[in-house]
Symmetry: C2
Subunit: 233 residues, 2 copies
Amino acid sequence: MAASVVPDETVGRLVTYVDYLERLLDQEVATVSSRELAAAAGVNAAQVRKDFSYLVPYRLGYFGTPGVGYEVRRLLYQLTRFLGVTHERRVVLVGYGSLGAALARYRGFAARNFNMVAVFDVDPAKIGKKVDGALVHGIDRLGEVLAQTGAEIAILATPASSAQSVAEKLAQAGIRAILNFAPVVLSLPRGVTVRQVDLSREMQLLAFRAMQDGESARAHHDSLPEEERQREP
Amino acid sequence: MAASVVPDETVGRLVTYVDYLERLLDQEVATVSSRELAAAAGVNAAQVRKDFSYLVPYRLGYFGTPGVGYEVRRLLYQLTRFLGVTHERRVVLVGYGSLGAALARYRGFAARNFNMVAVFDVDPAKIGKKVDGALVHGIDRLGEVLAQTGAEIAILATPASSAQSVAEKLAQAGIRAILNFAPVVLSLPRGVTVRQVDLSREMQLLAFRAMQDGESARAHHDSLPEEERQREP
DNA sequence: TAGATTGTTAATCGATTAACAATC
DNA sequence: TAGATTGTTAATCGATTAACAATC
């Protein structure tokens, strides 16, 4: 079997389908079509069915019924089983700055069975304090605390300058997956999964699109001059 | 000219190149190759050159010199000019909960010329307070305040349940771009650019990969039984 | 049965990567 | 000049979408 049969894009959408199915379950809706799931996730209906087809090799059992759709309850059960969201997942946070503090408090994690078991920072003023239900440790105690808590997932919210070295320590200490908020590409041994969330990059992309839409006609005109008017800045 | 010649992926990477070029400029490095830029951004060198080639129609002037590479200073100038990062961009934040508060304080935005000019919330206890240098308004004052401030970009950090209706109000009030942290797919008129950041989804994806790596052998074994053992949950 | 909707295969689309002539 | 590296075209890859037979 290839290392990862199910693309990240699909796994991400499965999570979205689960969210939507839970809402349907609350509303006591019994069945749902791929078309409806697609609308909720902002994708094509064929995409939804294709996504489910990736799970066939895992032999989960039930999916849909032609002509009818999917039973909400059973589909939800299969997807959560596949995603493994049933049991608690332990998370550590490294970097208790403004963003780190927010992430520690963010309720979206707890709602999904993520339990923040420890926080790490370099600031001596923070070490030893209890924040949001978790104790702040010095980064030197990483290995020790990870061994104790058995956490497998880390949230990295340090400054860019220290992100790579901290990530290496995390990998060494047995962390399997890192959600990286530092605007640096981490290079780590295979076996450690990294997802990068670059908020500043997202904002800059948005700003570019906003500007572009506003200026399309003008920009086109401005761009005509062949000469480069650069003054060394 | 097609609506958007430059893919989002490329624009995102251009931002990353700019970050790296600024570091090189600080270090007084004069030239850089596509290979080096690629390493910094975690991509292929051909990707870097391809990304730059998308900018050719914009006739910015200088890029690289075959056999030599790119002059750091001039390349940086061209990219920032293209991205329009030179002038201040005004941003409003809607939803001052735990995440919203963190985003308001997040320094990565200010460092990139984003200025948070107003905050909105429904909680009467927050309205009228000054937080992180911006006043908190009721959502009913959206149109008024946006007209005053001229903000074009919004950060949406409300609960999922109100995200769509707030987004519609934002679009109506002239917002061009929305960074959406609510785990809901927004449907808005064309002309409003939306980027979604779903932190819980990222975490669930990571947790899945972490679990998967740990279990590959076991999971494969477990998956064999043909019978579905579902008990209605 | 007729209408609806699944699961899957094939077609399309777009992004990434390789290759290489141009050129400093 | 010889070596290096760009800019661009062509090849590859993977993800999305369309189409449709199977089937409830």
